[in-house]
């Protein structure tokens, strides 16, 4: 049952081979057994999950079930879910129970899916290893001494360890794709604006995008059908016709033009990762694709640009966490300024404070033009690189991350080394493009390697098709860690 695809689970539920309550209980039991070792979930609400499962069974009995009805889905703890503690991985929100549902949560509820629990994450989604979480690091299910990646590390570990059927993540600079790669699962960051950000706690508003994480591309397509869609409560949500993301899964790949950016295969890329990615490209050629070398010359600037823009937006987005209305307030303070200072000093972790300080600095009078404005200009150049590239290819492929999962604590003291692990993913967010990662082998340390597929705007269905055809021909996506 734990190895079934979402489609198989849905069929089993609709055929009454298993009830949603039984399925949910199976997962809850597995979580109870394995989560203490992995720390993938920060909040469970067994009662609420089972109540949803009961309601889903009623829907199934009534014959009005949809694709996701009755299926247990884990939610990254960045989404507000009514009645659920919603922490965003921070002490600041340790005591915050959301009074409303995020759009994504609403969509799953409407579809009759089960909220199985809230998954661990880097604090306010700031991190690439899940080590910045106030609730402790998540362990990589393939090797408990290694990180699962971040910031959607809890989600990635939960999917890899079969602690949920599928799960949600968010991706600001690689936070879906990098942990998907490091945990050997599939993950999709849609085009900016395809999934509503309403109710998703903001890190960097112009980059944040929610997406699905699961065991295979076919599962991601079903998840996308639930998550995507226009929402008038998010002004950056795009008004587009509803689409079926599974519609092109079975198309052959004959004639597919794959662009390989030479900058993605240069210095800094681990040789084991390069080998696995090259093998995947060879597989694609067998499937009928052709390969063309392209160049994304401004990619090298994406990390500095990102670490100006994302902290700038974050410094402002996180101002609301001031101890006045909700969340953490320091127990002792002398006056208003002292309350702000102590609450924020005690409520935020080191990485969050670092980014708030960077962001405050780059927006300050006298520095704004040199940093923020300059970064916005380069952001447009980076996006323009992709426009040029797509004149010559249909999808772009390369590694998701320069290395496989590193050891817990290995990069803790060097933020810049940590930031570099997102070198291949960040440009995609800056351009607002869709990107995904699928498993394509293992590195020298037997840890999973991710293949990144970058599509043109709104090409999610095509990308899922490209991933699915590969997954029909290979079995990397069905390898599971021994736990």
């Amino acid at each position: 049952m734990f190895e079934s695809s979402l489609k198989q689970l849905g069929d089993a539920l609709r055929a009454k081979k298993i009830s949603s309550v039984e399925l949910t209980q199976l997962y809850l039991d597995r979580i109870a057994q394995l989560n203490p070792g992995l720390n993938a979930y920060v909040t469970l609400n067994t009662e609420a999950s089972l109540a949803q499962a009961k309601a889903a069974d009623a829907m199934l009995a009534g014959g009005d079930a949809q694709a996701m009805t009755g299926i247990p889905v884990a939610q990254k703890d960045i989404f507000c879910a009514k009645g659920w503690r919603t922490t965003c991985g921070s002490k600041m929100l340790d005591n915050f129970v959301a009074p409303y549902d995020a759009h994504v949560i609403e969509q799953f509820n409407r579809a009759g899916a089960i909220n199985l629990g809230k998954t661990n994450m880097d604090e306010f989604a700031m991190g690439s290893s899940n080590e910045t979480s106030y609730f402790g690091a998540v362990k990589n299910p393939w090797d408990n001494a290694r990180v699962p990646g971040g910031s959607s590390g809890g989600t990635a570990a939960a999917v890899a360890a079969r602690l949920c059927a599928a799960a949600t993540g968010t991706d600001t600079g690689g936070s879906i794709r990098q942990p998907a790669a490091l945990c050997g699962i599939s993950g999709l960051k849609p085009t900016y604006g395809v999934v509503s950000r309403y109710g998703m706690i903001a890190f960097a508003s112009s980059l944040d995008q929610a997406g699905p994480m699961g065991r295979c591309a076919e599962d991601l397509a079903l998840m996308m059908n639930t998550m995507a869609g226009f929402d008038e409560r998010d002004s950056t949500s795009l008004q587009r016709d509803k689409e079926d993301y599974a519609r092109d899964l079975d198309k052959p790949l004959n004639g597919l033009r794959i662009g390989l950016p030479k900058e993605f295969f240069a210095e800094g890329l681990g040789s084991d990762v390069a080998k696995a990615v090259e093998a995947a490209i060879a597989e694609y050629k067998k499937l009928g694709a052709t390969v063309v070398e392209i160049s994304l010359p401004n990619t090298r600037l994406s990390i500095p640009v990102y670490y100006v823009l994302a902290p700038a937006e974050a410094s402002s987005n996180l101002s609301r966490f001031d101890g006045v209305r909700y969340g953490y307030r320091a127990p002792d303070y002398t006056d208003l300024a002292d309350m702000y200072e102590k609450s924020r000093a005690q409520g935020f972790g080191a990485e969050v404070k670092r980014r708030i300080m960077i962001g405050t600095y780059v927006l300050s009078h006298g520095y704004y033009d040199a940093y923020y404005i300059q970064a916005q200009k380069i952001r447009r150049l980076i996006a323009q690189d992709f426009v040029e590239a797509y004149k010559h290819c249909d999808v772009i492929m390369g590694p998701t991350s320069p290395s496989t999962a590193f050891k817990l604590g290995e990069k803790g003291d060097d933020p810049v080394q940590m930031y570099l692990s997102d070198i291949y993913t960040i440009a995609v967010n800056l351009a607002g493009l869709p990107g995904m990662s699928i498993p394509c082998g293992f590195g020298d340390n037997d840890m999973p390697v991710g293949l990144q597929i970058i599509g043109n705007y709104f090409d999610e269905a095509r990308m899922l098709n490209v991933a699915h055809q590969y997954q029909l021909a290979t079995d990397w996506h069905s390898r599971a860690p021994q736990i």
């Binding site: 989404f79 507000c80 919603t86 965003c88 929100l93 915050f96 959301a98 009074p99 409303y100 995020a102 950000r197 309403y198 109710g199 998703m200 706690i201 903001a202 960097a204 508003s205 112009s206 008038e232 409560r233 998010d234 002004s235 950056t236 700038a312 937006e313 410094s315 402002s316 996180l318 101002s319 609301r320 966490f321 001031d322 006045v324 209305r325 909700y326 208003l336 702000y340 405050t360 927006l363 300050s364 009078h365 704004y368 923020y372």
Partner: protein, 483 residues
């Protein structure tokens, strides 16, 4: 030494939308604290702003009414600072790209010194931009603590910034009043100053005529024209005294205390915030099409200045009368409804409204909207004056009754028997009797004592109980006395 006063105004007009500028919460005044604070007003994690179209429409109307450029593309920016009644830790405002560009307002200035003549002046408006209001901090009822009421947070404001074009308190007050009239006239603001719907910040400096601009101090939050006058007078004298005593004016934000009539510095320039403005990534740039502007133009009423000119040209009213009648839309509407199509009666109609009606309203402490007699009722009475049914003194009687008891002119004339006698036969008979009874005086008159004419008029009026048509009576008397 002679000093020139330089004044510029920043006015915050609360726009008369039912809901807030970025959420669906009510903007009604006076509700229990925080009952109008929805998730967006509280800045809960994950909420997003959605722009209220009604606020934009009102900004467009203002721009059109002041002949300003409406920006086809304007941008919302975040103004970052911490304060307990600012729930997000930033205010959404507009910074370098406001919705309304440069415009102008022509004002009638009545100098305060008795012998100077009223004059016209055009004040340039630098810009007007949309922004949200903050909440309120309540200090009174909470011992050692501060209460926060977020009902007002997110209320739409139009901040209207003038050039430093005003040269006296009288000009500043005239401009503020004209603006106050205009925003109510075009229906974008209720203008209620007690409730804070129209708040003025006044920048004051002094300089030697024609010299460099002096250092300004900003008087914040004046909510009455009287206080504005007093505050400016005090501040100007303070600045002149300071300079003449060898001191220097320091840039500062100051408050006016109505109880003492003095201004006092709140914070100096050294304490000025660095607001770290940057474009709000949660909101797309505001785009306004020419079609939208034309739609708004079509909804604009005839503006006060246009009306004034028309009253002078079409009805032959004096500039003064025209400006009084257009001091509010209610007044102008009342005038036009009372006048109907009797254009020839414009002057007398104006006299009644500016005279009797305004005086009675003043006495009873009412405003035009609360006037106990309708424009139609007044018009009916004016028609009876015009057709000679009642005399002017009879009309005063009718008016008093109408005001106190209601009813139409015709009914009042009937019941009170105020109809004047215009039957020439009846008047002739009456005149004949008087001539017969006063042979001596007639003789005196005929021998050249013209002054006696008034004596005969008096007798005749008395005999007719005041109802004789005066013009007719004059003619007949003259004729008969001439023998």
């Amino acid at each position: 030494m002679q000093w020139e006063i330089v004044i510029g105004l920043e006015v915050h007009a609360q726009l008369s939308t039912n809901t807030k500028i970025f959420s669906g919460a009510s903007t009604a005044f006076g509700a229990e604290p925080n009952t109008q604070a929805d998730a967006v007003s509280l800045a809960l994690p994950g909420v997003l702003p959605v722009l209220n179209k009604g606020a934009v429409e009102r900004a467009i109307k203002f721009g059109l009414a002041t002949g300003a450029h409406i920006a086809p593309r304007s941008v919302f920016a975040r103004k970052n600072y911490f304060y307990p009644d600012l729930p997000k830790g930033y205010q959404i405002s507009q910074f370098d790209l406001p919705v309304v560009g440069q415009g102008a307002l022509t004002i009638q200035v009545e100098p305060l010194s008795g012998n100077a003549k009223p004059y016209e002046k055009t004040v340039r408006i630098t810009r007007a931009h949309l922004e949200e209001d903050a909440g309120k901090s309540l200090h009174a009822d909470f011992h050692g603590m501060t209460g926060i009421d977020l009902n007002r947070a997110g209320t739409p404001l139009l901040e209207i910034v003038s050039e430093p074009d005003m040269r006296s308190a009288a000009e500043a007050v005239a401009y503020a009043k004209a603006l106050h009239t205009l925003v109510r006239w075009i229906g974008i603001c209720d203008g209620n100053m007690q409730e804070g719907s129209f708040r003025c910040d006044v920048n004051v400096s002094v300089r030697k005529p024609g010299g460099e601009l002096g250092t300004r101090r900003e008087i914040k939050n004046l909510n009455s024209f009287k206080f504005m006058q007093q505050a400016i007078d005090y501040e100007v004298q303070w600045q002149i005294d300071t300079i003449e005593n060898g001191g220097k004016v320091q840039q500062a934000t100051i408050l006016f205390n109505p109880d003492t009539g003095e201004t006092r510095a709140m914070r100096s320039k050294e304490d000025a915030h660095d607001y770290r403005y940057f474009p709000d990534p949660d909101l797309l740039p505001l785009e306004i099409s020419p079609e939208w502007i034309e739609q708004m133009r079509a909804t604009l009423p005839e503006l006060p200045q246009t009306k004034q000119a028309r009253y002078v040209n079409e009805f032959g009213l004096s500039a003064y009368d025209a400006s009084v009648l257009t001091s509010s839309r209610e007044m102008a509407d009342f005038f036009e409804a009372a006048l109907g199509d009797a254009a020839a009666q414009a002057k007398i109609c104006a006299n009644w409204i500016i005279g009797e009606v305004s005086a009675q309203l003043n006495r009873d402490g009412l405003d035009m909207a609360q006037c106990p007699i309708t424009a139609q009722q007044l018009g009916g009475m004016l028609a009876r004056i015009a057709d000679g049914t009642i005399s002017n003194s009879g009309a005063k009687d009718v008016f008093r009754t109408m005001w106190a008891e209601g009813g139409d002119a015709d009914a009042i004339i009937e019941t009170k028997g105020l109809k004047q006698v215009s039957d020439s036969g009846a008047i002739e008979a009456l005149v004949d009797e008087i001539i017969a009874a006063n042979a001596d005086k007639v003789a005196e008159y005929r021998s050249g004592k013209d002054k006696l004419f008034g004596f005969f008029v008096g007798l005749a009026m008395k005999a007719s109980k005041g109802k004789a048509n005066p013009a007719q009576l004059n003619d007949i008397l003259k004729q008969k006395l001439a023998g």
